[in-house]
Symmetry: C2
Subunit: 148 residues, 2 copies
């Protein structure tokens, strides 16, 4: 049954339940490509649905992150932030963060060269330290157009 939400199927048959709060939270994440904090998501939802509690936002975001549906960011501004994940290819990007106003810019330039270097580094580090690398995090800090 199409139209019931593209995520519903990912919740069925795993002892998990498809609930209204979860659908609402995913809708809110879809509404923008910004990197939203739990509180921001809560406030946005709260305007039209005050019955969903902040605790549920936290729990759901954590779950969605574990499921791989969203991506958790920890830039250093005191709260966690989340963004929806796309398919691997179209999703992979890094962040440009303004240390003055906190603006976050997505970028995916030189991804190919970067991936090559990452692969090489991962292989070397794996051999050297016997360390299994699952993912990486790259971010640039500086001043955005307005703040420079």
């Amino acid at each position: 049954m199409p139209g019931k939400g593209k995520w519903q199927n990912r919740f069925s048959g795993h002892g998990r339940r498809w609930t209204m709060p979860r659908e609402t939270i995913l809708q809110q994440l879809s509404r923008t490509n910004k990197h939203q904090s739990p509180k921001e998501i809560f406030l946005a939802i709260n305007k039209f649905n005050p019955s969903i509690g902040l605790t549920t936002i936290y729990r759901t975001l954590e779950l969605l992150d574990k499921m791989g549906v969203i991506h958790k960011l920890r830039i250093g501004d005191g709260q966690v932030r989340y963004e929806l994940r796309g398919k691997e290819k179209e999703y992979h990007h890094h962040h440009l963060i303004c240390t003055s106003c906190g603006k976050i810019i997505d970028y995916a330039d030189f991804i190919d060269e970067e991936m090559e270097l990452i692969k090489k580094t991962e292989k070397a580090l794996n051999k050297k330290h016997n360390f299994i690398i699952n993912n990486h995090n790259i971010e640039f800090y500086g001043l955005c157009e307005k703040c420079r």
Copy 2:
């Protein structure tokens, strides 16, 4: 007067004062190449000098970071961590973080290739987004030898 500590001069003549707590904190940072949290530093110092308060640790670490003497790390384990900075060349490195036990490994492999890519990326991002890039952060997450 040598022996009085290699950092003392960095505190003179800027309206800043060279104090016993600051010297002790820098000593503690020198004692290991681990990435210590404020609380860890506090506990280590507290064993032989219980007169230094946690608040001072926080304030001093923040100051030292601003001065460029130490480097602040925010891996995602709930507390900030700091490490001493060496000279630019010998210092520059990234981190390998075990998501299971929290172990942090420094590495500096492929730094040259990496710097080349970083420079290229920085230039492109600057042109594209009119963003001034001051520094970057790269870290790999995975499982260490013991935790795999």
